[in-house]
């Protein structure tokens, strides 16, 4: 579904990603872990089409197409969803209007008619239940005045509305208490279909108790330095990242 080959990215002339290769097959869940500043969020941003990060080398192929050529909205309509680490507040733009526009853009892309007002509202209702989001939130401006937990739930709600093929969740678990974490994780699990994939970026193993990954990667200093099964997450939780840093730094010296 997604193939990243030797991806190198700079921000303001600073090398952030230094040659990432990664393949996500349909149905797989990949976890990307790593210490702060290792480039995890940059990778997510590049995949979603953020412009501040400049790709200097490498390719990203999504469903056989060159992903890097597509503007962000095109990527979304082709089935990529980014769950933001820090969802943006947009005063004056209502959740209903926002989602109606987004859903209908997706439908247009698929050659479908726009949803009728009543069908759309029914869809909103169903998805709100699915992710256990307070129904009042939907009547407010996008993320405005939402608590940290509400914002993250709202990300999962949007994901439920857009039904992506590939979800990229950028630290969706950070700042959540255990109840909110469970709701968010359950939401992700309910939305996932057997043929859809996810990249879950996280600091902590605890999210991966709920969303069980097939593969775990460790990103450090702009490179994937370790790839293994889900047991790697447990090991990192116990031992921290220092042993990996040491291992990498030792290899770099020798």
């Amino acid at each position: 579904m997604l193939a990243i080959e030797n991806l190198k990215v700079e921000i303001d002339g600073k090398k952030i990603l230094k040659g990432i290769s990664l393949e996500v097959k349909a149905g797989e869940i990949h976890a990307i872990m790593g210490p702060n500043g290792s480039g995890k969020s940059t990778l997510a941003a590049v995949l979603a089409g953020r412009e501040f990060a400049m790709v200097t080398e490498g390719t990203v192929t999504y469903m056989g197409k060159n992903l890097l050529d597509m503007p962000p909205e095109e990527r979304s309509k082709e089935g990529i969803f980014l769950g933001f680490q820090y969802p943006i507040e947009i005063p004056g733009v209502s959740m209903v209007n926002f989602m109606k526009t987004a859903v209908n853009e997706h439908r247009k892309h698929k050659g479908l008619e726009p949803l009728s007002a009543s069908d759309f509202l029914k869809m909103m209702r169903d998805k709100k239940e699915l992710v256990e989001i307070d129904s009042k939130l939907a009547n407010r401006s996008v993320n405005e005045g939402f608590s940290g937990g509400e914002k993250k739930k709202n990300e999962i709600f949007q994901m439920a509305m857009l039904e992506p093929e590939l979800a990229i969740l950028d630290e969706t678990d950070s700042g959540l208490d255990i109840d909110a974490l469970r709701i968010v994780a359950n939401g992700v699990n309910r939305i996932k279909r057997p043929d859809t994939s996810a990249i879950v970026i996280t600091h902590y193993q605890r999210l991966l108790d709920f969303i069980v990954p097939d593969v775990v990667h460790v990103l450090y200093d702009g490179r994937i330095v370790k790839t293994a099964g889900k047991e790697l997450a447990h090991e990192l939780e116990k031992k921290g990242y220092d042993w990996i840093k040491k291992e990498v730094d030792k290899n770099n010296l020798s």
Binding site: E89, F98, H106, H109
Partner: protein, 452 residues
Amino acid sequence: MSALNERTERYYTLYKDNIKRISESSSPYINSFREAAIGRFNELGIPTKKNETYKYTSLDTFFNHDFKSCFIPVAQDFVKAEEFRCDVTDLDAHGIVLLNGFYPTIHDKLRELPGGIWIGSLNEAAKKFSKKIEMHYGKYAEDDKDGLVHLNTAMASDGVFIYVPEDVVLKKPIQIVNLVQSDEDIFNQHRNLIIVEKNADVTLIVCDHTLSPQKFLTNGVTEIYVGENSHFDIIRVQNEHNNAGKITHTFIHQERNSVASSNNITLHGGLVRNSTHHYLGGEGAESYSYGLYLADKFQHVDNYVNVNHAFPNCTSNQLFKGVLDDMATGAFNGRIFVRKDAQGTLAYQKNSSILLTDDAKMDTKPQLEIYADDVRCSHGATVGQLDENALFYLQSRGINKREARLMLMFGFAHDVIQNIKVEALRERMDNLVMQRLKGELSRCASCMVKCG
């Protein structure tokens, strides 16, 4: 009298040439103001950038233009305007159509609306309501430093009069559509007086449209009296072409425990300058001053607000927002004046602008003069671009960049529109703003006047 500069001289000549005609149709009381006013105008002249409140606005393009005459309507002008009034549908509002700011004086020069509200020509009202006119006319328009207010007092031949008696609550708004139309370039001055007696509640919406491409310059003064415990809202929708200059002076005088709001929505216009004066003249009064300006090309929109807290325990709030595109420029100057004995004052002010290009420009200036010590005042101003993060957020959900920009601008503008109390009106304004932002606005689609 010292020598007048050439420009002031030109308007003084216009006065001399027309004053006989103007005075003939006006009441002696209104005429009694004229001589002193033209004297004061000659001293002050047309404002220039040297005038502190016009610091960011040049009136030259319009006031240097040689308008052959000032517009004094005669009955046949209204006959012509009637042609444009093809289909007036009653859109949950009491509708009135004006020509260049003047009430049609062909049929009923004064007409009664439900609840005993009177609306009509100021000159006609000066006969029927002479006591009321004498009590209120010329009492509130007291910007002593602005020559244009005096020019209006000296020369305005007529205007709209609205009288709302005590205890009248009008659920439907009164909608005034002002058609700006002429075969030649005109300079146009009208004078309005709105009297809202105590315990009343009325909303007034005034829409300006230019219908012909001639050069227009309007210098209008509106005096509003809001009696004790009354609610009054005025919403202005300005939609004129790039060759139209619009200068409005609005003076709102409020008695105790009254609530009044002004909302200037500038959708289009070559040069727009709104000065709005709020006088809180009794304890417990609340005043709200809102404005939204959407400008592009070489348009210029200036809002000057002057809030005068003369009594204790009053509240005022100013919120002005705008989006400037192309080479458009804007200015905001908000003054809060708190008198020494106006303790317990709450006064707020906010101005935010979005500049879509490097060439667009906004000048914003708060001006707080506080002589009382127990007050809470705040002011804030921002000038910036569209939020890139918000734009990306919308795009990342599949919304294309153009649409995403529109949604952000709309959300930004909605902050002002949401203060309109009447829901149907609020929705209509939202639609108008959206059309304007999309560049699709020529005539307001929901306007009660369907032309052509």
